[in-house]
């Protein structure tokens, strides 16, 4: 049955800035402002309407949130001042943690790789990040991906903006232990609040 408020409540309770969803006035400025507008399935406007209409699975399995480039155009133009970018991020996170986000969605995969890379040393190692991204679909595809982009890599290397030695160390925090403790604790609190299992 549509237009029951159950899913809206779930979003309000569990999604970052989710309590704003009900305030959308359906003007569509966000949809017209998104640089990836031609590529997603549902505009933010539609996503918010679908939440209100109770279309839970369609929302959480949508690829739209994963198309966000974080350009913040929608935020600054929204006449109702909804933090749309954050809501989209929040929905992506929630769908991802529930396991409902589209499998193999490239940004979803990249985002996970990025976070893992970040948590490992406290700073992002660009080369490792790039390689893990290229090798996300297995070794053979990784070689192909890397070869396809080898000109860029070589150019960057020449410009001393990628260094192969980074693979064997690179930058990292001194107090890595403390950093890990902070991240783990934060994750623990958040998961407890949202009823997600730690994983």
């Amino acid at each position: 049955m549509s237009y029951r408020n159950d899913f809206l409540k779930e979003v309000e309770e569990n999604v970052e800035e989710g309590e704003w969803v009900k305030m959308c006035m359906q003007c569509g400025v966000c949809a017209g402002s998104c640089p990836f507008g031609p590529h997603w399935e549902h505009s933010p406007q539609k996503i918010f309407m679908m939440i209100r209409a109770g279309e839970r699975i369609q929302v959480l399995s949508s690829d739209s949130m994963w198309m966000c480039t974080s350009c913040y155009n929608c935020i600054v133009r929204c006449p109702r001042k909804l933090p749309i970018t954050h809501i989209m991020h929040g929905l992506a996170n929630y769908a991802h943690r529930l396991g409902l986000a589209p499998k193999g969605q490239p940004t979803r995969v990249f985002a996970k790789t990025f976070w893992d890379n970040l948590v490992k040393t406290g700073r992002v190692n660009e080369l490792k990040l790039t390689l893990s991204h290229y090798f996300r679909d297995g070794f053979i595809q990784g070689i192909r991906n890397a070869l396809a982009m080898k000109d860029i890599g070589l150019g960057m290397m020449k410009a001393r903006r990628i260094n192969p030695m980074e693979l064997f160390g690179g930058h990292g925090l001194q107090d890595l232990e403390g950093f890990h403790a902070i991240v783990a604790k934060a994750r623990e609190i958040e998961d407890r609040k949202k009823g997600l299992k730690n994983g």
Binding site: N5, L8, K22, M23, M25, K46, R52
Partner: protein, 727 residues
């Protein structure tokens, strides 16, 4: 009475007039052609000293008719105010030196001299207006309708010190406002429904010493005019009262559109109500969770906006208040029980004024809004099933709800449609004894016509004012403001009437129309065309002027084929003599003359403003202000063409549904009359372009010069009039 005519002309050479014009030559024109007994030139006429000169001469020399050749008649009105002297203003500043391009000294001087001739000719045809001798002194105000609008009007007028007679057809005062649980907020914060305050208002009105209340009553007859209406009030039981009234406010409100005409939206089903029906349930609940009539607590409710509204087969218009009303009603549910699912289905959500904040507050409370078009409402299980096209998600959708509320619209209680009086089931409200019909004119969709663009409380029946939703769809806040405005207009009307003066828009004007009955052919054009129903017929079928109802627009004068209607200071002759006073160059001079008759309400100020902004236009134009294009008699045009004018242009207000004419129908009538001008032109052997009409709004100051110049170019192309020298 006025003694013998003594004329004087005062020419100002200030504001650059002396630099650009040959003042000595102008003085000579006033003296010789204008035949002014006294001619004075002054370098600063509106100064204390200049004004004193005029005053002293009026006193000492007994000047009865004066010409002031200086700035526009719209400037320096306080300095040049001589109430005991007939006065003509010659516009040399805004009308000549500010609008004639440099390098045209000769034709500029000719233009100025013509204007001086015209002023002198006009003033000699003027009489000093003495006011309406038939004025009525009655100042009581009748308010018809005891709802929020009527109660507000009554209280406002009573508090200002006027006696009020309040008539209500039902047995109790209060109207719709007493049949709702709460109202939308009028002031910040716009968050929650508010108490209506209607009981307090009723008790204030009931206790007021200046207010006499007649409930369970209707108006049997209304006759007379502002300041002297006679109204018979009948009680349902059969008793009758007669009251003398100065002005009337009609605040008869609206009826709710009949829900049973909307079966496709569930009208008639047990769990489908209109907004009034929901209010009844809310009153019963007294702020606790709302239950249905069958006692079942409501856990889900759907509101259908625009039910039978903006729909050609029902009400074609938007009633304005219903979106905010549904928002308020959804809050009834959310405030009492936040778990109730409330959905408002709209096609366009319209929340004017501060309604946007109220809408936002409802969203914060969890009211869900969805854009959709409802196709059906049916019984389903314990409640209703509502099918709609979801216009955002672009899919068919279904909602099941315990209750469905239809936002139906406001239907005005405006009485008899005087243009279709034979239509059935019409019950008159005012029962006017006017020849024009029993009730007020309507504009669209049955709403009483008021001057909705410029003067919202003014109707076409002088001294009778419309207030509230009978005038246009509106909410309670707007009705309160409307009622207050109408009360103030009614007060102005009784005060003006008692002094024999015109009401709006020539408020304070003492002139009034007189008719030479011996010349009248009983053609009835004046009685039919008067936009204000001011002219009845006497037993011998002659026009009978009700001066107190007259707005002094002169439409009757424009209509009269035998030219027997005139005002003391505005007549066929005051304008005709100006037209004839212009010095007409011959056919080979290449100096055409274009007569412009400009409505003094919008076109003339726009021309003045063009002058202030130095927008130049053709110095071949000769502009005469008129009270309204409706007052333009075709004789002026034929006279002008016969005397050799090359073109005649009329500048007046927009007409039609979105009219801006201050006299509502004046410019429309002028347009109609001029439609017949083509035949006259053909008879004279003249091109149809020689007479033209343009619509000018007061804001068109950037366009008027172009209108004139384009027309001058048209005249140049078709050539000079062949009529010169025959006039």
């Amino acid at each position: 009475m006025m003694s013998e005519m003594k004329t004087a002309a005062y020419l100002c050479s200030g504001c650059g007039l002396g630099d650009k014009l040959d003042m000595a030559s102008l003085s000579k024109v006033a003296q010789k052609a204008g035949k002014m007994a006294i001619v004075r030139e002054h370098p600063f006429l509106c100064s204390e000293e200049g004004v004193k000169l005029i005053h002293d001469e009026i006193e000492k020399e007994s000047v009865t008719h004066a010409v002031i050749a200086a700035c526009s008649r719209r400037s320096k009105t306080e300095a040049f105010s001589f109430p005991e002297t007939a006065l003509s203003r010659v516009n040399l500043r805004e009308g000549v030196i500010w609008v004639v391009a440099e390098g045209h000294e000769e034709i500029r001087q000719e233009m100025a001299e013509d204007y001086v001739r015209m002023g002198c000719a006009e003033v000699k045809k003027m009489k000093l207006p003495r006011g309406n001798p038939e004025s009525g002194k009655e100042k009581n105000i009748l308010v018809v309708g005891g709802g929020l609008s009527g109660l507000t009007s009554a209280l406002e007028a009573a508090e200002t010190g006027y006696k009020v007679v309040l008539v209500e057809k039902e047995t109790r005062l209060g109207g719709w406002a007493s049949k709702i649980w709460k109202r939308v907020p009028f002031s910040s914060p716009y968050n929650d429904p508010q108490n209506t305050g209607i009981l307090e208002l009723i008790s204030k009105v009931s206790a007021h010493k200046n207010i006499e209340i007649h409930v369970n009553s209707a108006i049997l007859e209304t006759s007379g005019a502002p300041g002297k209406f006679v109204v018979r009030i009948g009680k349902a039981e059969g008793t009758e009262t007669e009251v003398k009234i100065g002005a009337i406010i009609q605040a008869t409100g609206f009826s709710s559109y009949d829900i049973s005409k909307l079966p496709e939206l569930g009208g008639g089903l047990p769990h489908v109500v209109d907004q009034a029906g929901l209010e009844q349930l809310a009153i019963k609940a007294e702020g606790k969770p709302i239950a249905r009539e069958d006692g079942k607590p409501i856990r889900s409710v759907a509101f259908v906006q625009c039910a039978g509204q903006r729909d050609e087969s029902h009400l074609p218009y938007c009633s304005g208040h219903c979106c905010a009303t549904s928002i308020k009603q959804a809050m009834y549910f959310k405030d009492a029980h936040p778990e109730v699912d409330t959905v408002i289905i709209y096609t366009d959500l319209r929340t004017p004024g501060m309604g946007e904040d109220f809408y936002r507050s409802a969203q914060e409370k969890g009211v869900i809004f969805t854009k959709g078009k409802v196709s059906s409402v049916e019984n389903a299980g314990e409640g209703c099933r509502l099918k709609f096209r979801d216009l955002i998600l672009d899919e068919e959708s279904t909602i099941e709800a315990d209750l469905v509320v239809l936002a139906t619209g406001q239907v005005p209680n405006s009485g008899v449609n005087i243009e279709l009086p034979e239509e059935r089931n019409q019950v008159s409200v005012l029962n006017l004894s006017y020849r024009q019909g029993k009730d007020m004119p309507q504009l669209k969709y049955g709403f009483m016509d008021s001057h909705f663009i410029c003067f919202p409380y003014e109707t076409r029946r002088t001294g009778i004012y419309a207030a509230g939703p009978v005038r246009r769809p509106m909410d309670m806040l707007q009705a309160t403001e409307d009622a207050t405005g109408a009360a103030l207009k009614a007060i102005q009307a009784v005060e003006n009437a008692s002094l024999g003066r015109a009401a709006h828009p020539r408020s304070g004007d003492l002139s009034f129309p007189t008719v030479r009955l011996e010349g009248c052919t009983q053609c009835k054009r004046c009685t039919v065309e008067c936009p204000f129903g001011a002219i009845d017929e006497d037993e011998k079928r002659f026009p009978l002027f009700n001066e107190s109802r007259c707005r002094r627009c002169g439409t009757c004068m424009g209509a009269c084929p035998v030219r027997v209607i005139s005002f003391e200071n505005y007549s066929i002759d005051t304008v005709g003599s100006q037209i004839k006073a212009v010095d007409m160059p011959d056919e080979f001079s290449e100096k055409p003359r274009i007569l412009i008759l400009a409505c003094e309400n919008d076109a003339y100020p726009a021309l003045d403003m063009a002058g202030m902004k130095n927008r130049c236009y053709s110095a071949f134009a000769r502009i005469i202000p008129v009270r309204c294009l409706g007052s333009v008699n075709t004789i002026w045009i034929t006279d002008a063409l016969n005397s050799g004018y090359d073109g005649v242009m009329m500048m007046g207000c927009k007409h039609g549904d979105n009219y801006q004419c201050h006299f509502v129908k004046g410019s429309e009538l002028a347009n109609y009359r001029m439609g017949k001008m083509d035949d006259t032109l053909k008879q004279l052997g003249l091109e149809t372009e020689r007479v033209t009409t343009v619509e000018v709004a007061i804001t068109d100051h950037e366009k008027v010069a172009a209108f004139i110049n384009d027309y001058a170019e048209t005249i140049r192309i078709i050539g000079m009039s062949p009529m010169k020298g025959f006039g």
